[in-house]
């Protein structure tokens, strides 16, 4: 199954301070391990919400809202798309991630329609 991991790093999402080289190296090490295990399909980091937009739909009406957005705890700062054999496997991998804050949401991707 495929799972989408959304990194909700809270206040850190929009923080200007870049991660330390040590933190980056730790993250890289973890990511390498995931790639070597054949888990990562795709990964990406997002610009802060100050540079993002929202489009709201209301019937025929569309309105564009400029960032930054205030609900910092819900803002997604990065994502992974993983191939795993169960949600539990995804959780076990995720627990090993070198983060000390934030919330990571795990969602299973719908696949193989009509099968």
């Amino acid at each position: 199954m495929r799972v989408l991991i959304m990194a909700k790093e809270g206040e850190q999402s929009d923080a200007a301070t870049p991660p330390t080289p040590e933190a980056m190296a730790e993250y890289q090490k973890f990511n390498d391990e995931l790639v070597k295990a054949g888990v990562v399909l795709e990964a990406g980091r997002l610009y802060p919400s100050s540079q993002s937009k929202r489009v709201r739909f209301d019937g025929k009406k569309r309105s564009v809202i400029d960032g930054p957005f205030t609900e910092t705890k819900e803002l997604v700062a990065g994502y992974w798309l993983w191939q795993v054999r169960s949600i539990d496997e995804a959780l076990e991998w995720l627990k090993r991630a070198p983060y000390d804050g934030g919330t990571f949401e795990v969602r299973q991707v719908l696949e193989y329609e009509g099968m």
């Binding site: 790639v35 070597k36 295990a37 054949g38 399909l41 795709e42 798309l81 191939q83 054999r85 169960s86 539990d88 496997e89 959780l91 076990e92 991998w93 696949e111 193989y112 329609e113 009509g114 099968m115």
Partner: protein, 461 residues
């Protein structure tokens, strides 16, 4: 006594291993009010099952390097799993569960080796002090060494050419995929005892042939790698077009093969054919949901809704193919087949397919790895590029080929070409013959339907 984790231990640990998987759902069904302890136990079991899936191959690989054979390594790993099943629900899952399992298994491995050496000494009466001193020194570094190549060693061992294809496939799924005997049996529609026997015999054959735990090099590496790639592609193909049964595709097998391929690509990044195989599987897997119709029937490549092809897998496949090409040299058979798959992936409609290029690529495959099946595929491409008559000439030349006598795709292809030439009656007979030759229910239905279509409305030449 002397055989380390003895027969009886093995049978109980195997049961425990399979039990770990069954426990989750069963406990969830338990009546309410059984308390927090039950929930904690269930959670721990689910965590253990997931951790086993993540760690078992590395664990078995690390142990196989030390003890020298897969059977013992697997027993030791499962003993560690049993210990985890006993301790983790009570004490909690350790912070580094992989290291815990390895540590536990390692202690047992050391005990086992000590006992073996002791036994050896008794048998041969070489109670030399020097040897005794040596044993304590070597063991720990041997186990703690960098494990990067261990997994590769295990893959090469499980896919050793001394084993029959079916044995290689079963053993690989077992020790590298972490699948239970039951899961493998279900995947291949074979009774559980048959798979269990196959795995036991495979381990025995490896031991009797004194197959060493190693990452081969030079000419041997090329031959051994071909055997590994063959096993992975066999697993993929059984999922991609099941040879028998009710289901036309079994995505879980494709996913497992892809996972093994992706792991291998990171372990052996300089082998172009590994990337070639990964590219082939990624691109073929991109069509998995498009090649099954609403009621489970097969949908052929040119009839598929290309909007349902998985763009992510296509992109990954094309990237893997590029990796194979970047390594230089002429493309191998897997990379060439991936290049053919890429031709289809790049065409936004089936009419845009670059058939002459596909013919040229099949020419190259036929030179490297000639086979009647490749010739048949080439004939299809020729039929598309240069007209059905040209394709039929090539197919007719294959009719007498003994290895294709019971291959259902030969009459299926022939029927297709005949129909395009307006020879409906002959086409119908070919489709009907093809239908009798396949064991897959869904494919048989498709072929019967095509036979029926020939009778109903003859196609204009």
């Amino acid at each position: 006594m002397t055989a380390g984790p003895s027969r009886s231990v093995r049978s109980s640990s195997t049961r425990a291993c399979e039990g770990a998987r069954a426990i989750g759902p069963r406990d969830e069904d338990a009546p309410e009010g059984q308390g927090r302890h039950e929930t904690a136990v269930t959670e721990a079991h689910r965590a253990i099952e997931a951790i086993w899936r993540i760690e078992s191959a590395r664990l078995i690989a690390g142990l196989a390097r030390v003890v020298g054979d897969i059977g013992t390594a697997e027993e030791l790993a499962q003993d560690a799993l049993v210990a985890a099943l006993e301790q983790w629900p009570v004490e909690g899952v350790p912070e580094r569960p992989g290291a815990w399992l390895m540590g536990t298994a390692k202690h047992r491995a050391i005990d086992l080796i000590r006992r073996r050496k002791m036994l050896e000494r008794k048998h041969h009466e070489i109670g030399r002090d020097a040897e005794r001193a040596q044993e304590g020194v070597d063991l720990d570094p041997a186990i703690d060494e960098e494990v990067g190549d261990d997994l590769l060693g295990l893959i090469f061992m499980a896919c050793h050419p001394v084993l029959a294809k079916e044995a290689r496939v079963a053993l690989t799924l077992r020790v590298l995929g972490g699948l239970t005997t039951g899961e493998i049996a279900r995947a291949f529609l074979v009774p559980v005892p048959a798979i269990a026997q196959r795995i036991v015999r495979a381990k025995r054959t490896l031991a009797e042939a004194h197959v060493r735990f190693e990452v081969p090099s030079g000419a041997e590496r090329i031959a051994r790698l071909a055997s590994v790639l063959e096993v992975i592609y066999l697993i993929f193909n059984e999922g991609y077009s099941a040879t028998a049964g009710e289901d036309w595709v079994r995505p879980a097998l494709c996913e497992e093969a892809l996972r093994l391929g992706r792991i291998l690509a990171e372990l052996a990044p300089t082998e172009p054919e590994v990337h070639g195989l990964v590219a082939l599987m990624e691109i073929q897997a991109s069509r998995l949901s498009a090649r099954v119709g609403p009621s489970g029937e097969p949908v052929l490549l040119l009839d598929q809704d290309r909007g349902r092809w998985d763009r992510l897998l296509i992109r990954r496949g094309l990237a893997a193919l590029e990796r194979a090409e970047m390594l230089g040299g002429a493309l191998g058979p897997y990379a060439l087949q991936a290049a053919i798959a890429a031709c289809h992936a790049r065409a936004t409609t089936s009419a845009e397919t670059d058939w002459p290029r596909i013919v040229a690529l099949y020419d190259a495959v036929a030179q490297l790895a000639p086979s009647p099946v490749v010739e048949l595929n080439r004939a299809v491409a020729v039929g598309m590029a240069f007209g059905p008559a040209a394709g039929l000439d090539l197919v007719d030349a294959l009719v007498a080929e003994p290895s294709l006598m019971s291959y259902h795709l030969l009459p299926a292809v022939r029927g297709d070409l005949l129909r395009k030439l307006g020879r409906s009656e002959e086409a119908r007979a070919e489709f009907e013959r093809a239908a009798t030759l396949t064991d897959n229910v869904r494919e048989r239905e498709l072929l019967q339907r095509r036979a029926g279509e020939c009778a109903a409305k003859p196609m204009a030449g």
